[in-house]
Symmetry: none
Subunit: 401 residues, 2 copies
């Protein structure tokens, strides 16, 4: 954890914290002199809240570093994203809401096409329909071995999550994807002693998969990469004494929240409105709520500027319903920027707003990138925000006399 | 010390630095949209000075961390408050202006009430008058042992500072206060080998105190806690080559200044006016002056918003007299925030102003929390301020060619 934080200073309180994350919130103008997505959105409620809040810009990992959603979320949750790394395989499994255990070794799987000489002819098997992948996964689930349990969870098209569960399995494993066609898949090699058994299991699994899929077309083989176990991170209940809950719809965010010790709550639909219903229902049972909105990022990555603006406006319209719960602390921010003009995540710092009774309001009646530049939080590491939230919730004791 | 500081770059100069600390300076509005104590004070001199200065906000220890006066002062003096910790016992002794030596083991002492079965019936002995504590302390001063010297200095009501002076005494000692009534006081236990002798001395002292106070009422016993030696910190003369002086009235601040190698100057009264007289008298003898004003914090902790405003205005009225000394560098700031609305120290960053001939003035003609948010120093660790003061005083050489 951060050097400026002392776990022994944490104390209990009867206060509620809400962390509302608009995924990929930060944006850019479409043209020079223009406004960002957030700046051009009509958002009277967020702007009014900003006037009573402190504003700033968060840097997820470091200057100039663009983060994925995994490290972006770890950072805004208060963890150093370089200290705790979530491997790609583990993220893939979390993404399909697989309840990955601390001992599980996960990998990203691909269905691919191979010719009779064992040469890969299409690394993605023509992007087979997701339904086909489901059928193939069913076939692979017949593979059984003593001492290990396998899980195959289709993701989308040719992609699936692969998990090995067993005692004492290491995750230091090389990948089987040769990364270009015209070559044979590589065997899994153990990169340390602890991973020898994992390598044997994985290779035997691939061998049996090869036999079982021999007659299938176009996907007649699998490749595995990004082998990873979950990092062991101190949880919210242990670190902060918080009964923490996640109100997220997409698997990966639910998974990262679970990793941080949050209880993942059921949501009755896929809208922000449905998420607020969950929040209202469970309000008394938790101290901390992480609420995740995905659409801002989806639109940003799709280059859909007006769609991202609308996503922000949809959230804005329901802010009064959120405020009706009277949270002691409300943090609104993002895990990273996803400017529509870039059609991708980016390194730009992310607007953040912290509302609480005893903040020293900046008096800036606008929630936007440039308004946040003038905020008193300044431009700060994302991982520091949780400390401000806890302080404002009366959950940090005085240090020294 | 901070990674960004190189002691070998320090050089001598014929310049004077004044660090004026208004204790607990940072505040909060009483109601949403209102002004803080500092913002609502009538302070034409500070505002005029601000226009010629650089402004910013200091963070004493870390984001969201509320500090006590000890760590708050270490930070503004340039030390990392987590690296150098002043234990509670040591602070108690400093607080009564006891000249604590580097080998002394200090503790917070309580007079308490015990029944005939040795059970604590009142941990504070009904908060006996301070005068009674003085009489009891006189009785305890008769306790003598070979190899150690004891000091008992009344603080207020039932509280006193307890000090053991002797060679090779450790301070890793458990506390005797059971923290609730209905239990017997605990014996002092050594928590490491070096503290075995300290534990024996402390237990024998308590035993004899018990005998000597047996007939007293209501205070017939003592309890000791927070055993601590002073941390060993590099001093201003050694670190910065500064002949440094402290112009502080309250014991604890004088003690922390002494710890940093400052000479504590006599002050002929308890007003800021008296402190300025000391400054004027000793102006030629020192390079650096720390001037401490307590009233801002006292009022903040008492919830006295107008009192804190007045305390600021009193300082403002005498700024011309301070400026008449023509300091090369004047830093005005605080050790932490103490908003009257919270009646306590708080985590909010603290306004700071740095005046010198060659600052690049922000041109903001106001010294206030929100004005400082716009200042060019930004929001920065308090421990960095001393470097700006030294640089502006021509006391840091160029690094590299």
């Amino acid at each position: 954890m951060d050097a400026g934080f002392r776990p022994e200073l944490i104390t209990a309180a009867q206060t509620k914290i809400v962390m509302l994350i608009l995924d990929g919130l930060g944006g850019l103008p479409l043209e020079p002199g223009g406004q960002t997505e957030l700046e051009s959105a009509c958002k009277p409620n967020l702007d009014a809240l900003a006037a009573q809040s402190v504003l700033g810009l968060t840097v997820p990992a470091g200057p100039g570093i663009t983060v994925g959603s995994g490290p972006g979320h770890l950072a805004i949750f208060g963890y150093d994203p370089f200290e705790y790394e979530i491997g790609r395989g583990a993220l893939e499994a979390l993404g399909v809401d697989f309840e990955l255990g601390p001992e599980d070794v996960a990998a990203r799987g691909n269905f691919c096409s191979m010719d009779e000489n064992g040469i890969v002819t299409d690394r993605r098997a023509g992007r087979i329909p997701t339904e086909t992948a489901h059928e193939l996964a069913r076939i692979l689930r017949s593979i059984q071995m003593d001492g290990v349990e396998f899980f195959i969870e289709p993701v989308k098209e040719h992609r699936f999550a692969f998990v090995m569960r067993g005692a004492g399995l290491g995750d230091a494993l090389s990948e089987t994807d040769p990364l270009k066609t015209g070559m044979a898949p590589l065997p899994v090699r153990a990169l340390d002693g602890e991973s020898e058994r994992s390598a044997q299991y994985a290779n035997r699994f691939i061998e049996q998969a090869h036999c079982l899929l021999a007659e299938e077309r176009p996907a007649n083989m699998i490749m595995l990469r990004g082998f990873a176990k979950l990092p062991s991170i101190p949880t919210y209940p242990k670190l902060y004494g918080l009964r923490a809950a996640a109100v997220a719809i997409n698997g990966m965010y639910r998974g990262v929240a679970r990793l941080a010790g949050m209880e993942v709550l059921p949501v009755g639909g896929d809208t922000f409105c449905d998420q607020l219903s969950t929040l209202e229902t469970c309000w008394n049972e938790f101290d901390f709520f992480y609420v995740h909105v995905k659409k801002t990022d989806t639109c940003g990555e799709a280059g859909d500027f007006p769609g991202k603006v609308r996503a922000i406006e949809e959230v804005d319209a329901l802010i009064p319903r959120l405020m009706a719960l009277d949270p002691d602390v409300l943090l609104i921010g993002g895990d990273h920027s996803s400017p529509a003009v870039l059609r991708s995540h980016s390194w730009h710092p992310v607007p953040v707003l912290l509302y609480a009774r005893h903040v020293r309001p900046d008096g800036i009646a606008e929630f936007g990138e440039r308004a946040c530049t003038r905020g008193s939080l300044g431009t700060l590491p994302a991982k520091h925000m949780i400390h401000f939230a806890l302080a404002n919730a009366g959950r940090i004791l005085k240090y020294g006399a």
